[in-house]
């Protein structure tokens, strides 16, 4: 069996996708867990570090704050999508190329939050709670 990998983007013009990567899992509140489409995950904020040219990011998810950086991937990631093949290898090989993979994007950098989140509760609030 053969599966062709195809790309219709044209020479080096694959649209670039983005990745936001963080430790663990983001969970929505139970009540709306089955209806998360369109829901906001968090707020992404960019600031530059004075010491270096590297950009730093703050990602606020609910009461959690994550800090991270933009990372260039050592090897790019291609986004492939499984498709039913349009043109098979030929009429004599109907079984072949029933599916094909299409390159629909490329990922060269990601925003990586590799530390554990910080709780966003002020001291005053914390005292009140205790």
């Amino acid at each position: 069996m053969q599966i062709k990998v195809k790309c219709n983007c044209g020479d080096g013009k694959c649209p670039e996708w983005a990745i936001i990567e963080l430790q663990g899992v983001v969970e929505s509140q139970l009540a709306i867990s089955d209806q998360i489409n369109g829901l906001e995950i968090g707020h992404l904020c960019c600031s530059s570090l004075s010491s270096s040219s590297q950009l730093s990011y703050i990602f606020t998810v609910g009461y959690h704050e994550l800090s991270g950086t933009k990372v260039q991937l050592k090897k790019p990631l291609l986004v492939l999508k499984k498709k039913a093949a349009v043109d098979a290898a030929g009429p004599e090989f109907p079984a072949s190329s029933a599916t094909e993979l299409e390159v629909i994007g490329i990922i060269r950098q990601k925003i990586l939050f590799k530390t554990r989140p910080k709780a966003l509760i002020s001291r005053a609030q914390a005292k009140k709670l205790s």
Binding site: Q2, K6, W17, L44, C46, K82
Partner: protein, 395 residues
Amino acid sequence: MAGETNGGWGGGAESVLNLVPGSSISVRYHSLFGPHDDFLLLEADEALLPDILHNRVTIRGQTDEEAVLCTPLATYAMKFVGTSNSVFLIPPGDPIPPCMEDTCNDSKSNTSAAHEVVPSVIKVASSNMELVLVAPHLDKLKSLLNERPYKLDEDVETDFQHNRSLYRWQDLLEQIQASEQELRDGLKALSAAEIDGFWRIIDEKTMDEILNMVLNNSILHGWPLNALEEHEVVSVLDADGYPRNITLHCLETFGNMVESSGCSFWSLDEKKVCLRFALQALGGGKMKLEIFLQKWRHCVPSGMHADLKMLEGEVLYEKLGFETWIRAFRVSALPSTPAERFAALFMERPRWNWKDLEPYIRDLHVPGLSLEGLLIKYTRRSQPSADVEPIFSAR
């Protein structure tokens, strides 16, 4: 999916990647967020991108095999690598303004309508695929082609089993986990020929018969063995009922082409011809070395010199008392994956010295592993003292 056909997903990846210091942006789940099992992430070296982006890459494998990815030249294993991190995938494209989703499709004003860019996560990826350069899986090619070797008298066979166990180039690409170049090299290494559109191994007896016909005719017609004129040889054998393409294949197998003044000439390769006669002389069993040498030297064509060096990787010697015996043991009949190759070798002999072992492993090519590395991985080396030859045994 309206966004997909436009080439954009309305995901706003650009707004994430180009976020300038001092600004912030809201990130949400895409309206089409879901498991999207039809999306795969493939990690590919920068050097592989041109092949992938120009449609020169194919994934090959039967359902019971682990898939490999083939460029025109090389074969890569595909490894799934999981992650416990949350990898939010954000597709590119301008977000679709809300009015476009319902009524005002033909209105030109919607592009000017300032709409907040909200990057949208389409999927949380739990794994990606990595590529590891591997040797092609060519043992299957050998066994497929050995199902039905070509024989001279098969042309008279009835049609009803005509296409059984016969493989075209396209069939082989479907069946064999190798790049096109590796498959071509593999066919060449097996001395396979394309006959009536099918790739075949020629039965050994047939090859022997044709080689003998070439040699006999060379005596009869006074042809020099280092300059056989292709047209003449093929025509003479054709008159005796040997198909032209098979004769030509025989010349390719046992000789090298030399062109001179527009004519194709073939020079028979001494080593290849002598080896064939050695294997004929040995038959299946073992033989005293002296008797074998007598028999062998007697039957090689005059002008050719039989030398035991020609038989490296083809025969094994055994000392029984004062006598040395010889028998055929061909590297070409052994498996080509290192683990299976060493298993077969140690089944044959539990202990090997380097001189004997080397001809049986020098053709093994494993990306990223040298011959020395293979020995460390698959053998135990023992050397009682520095002036004694090392001995290799199974690990």
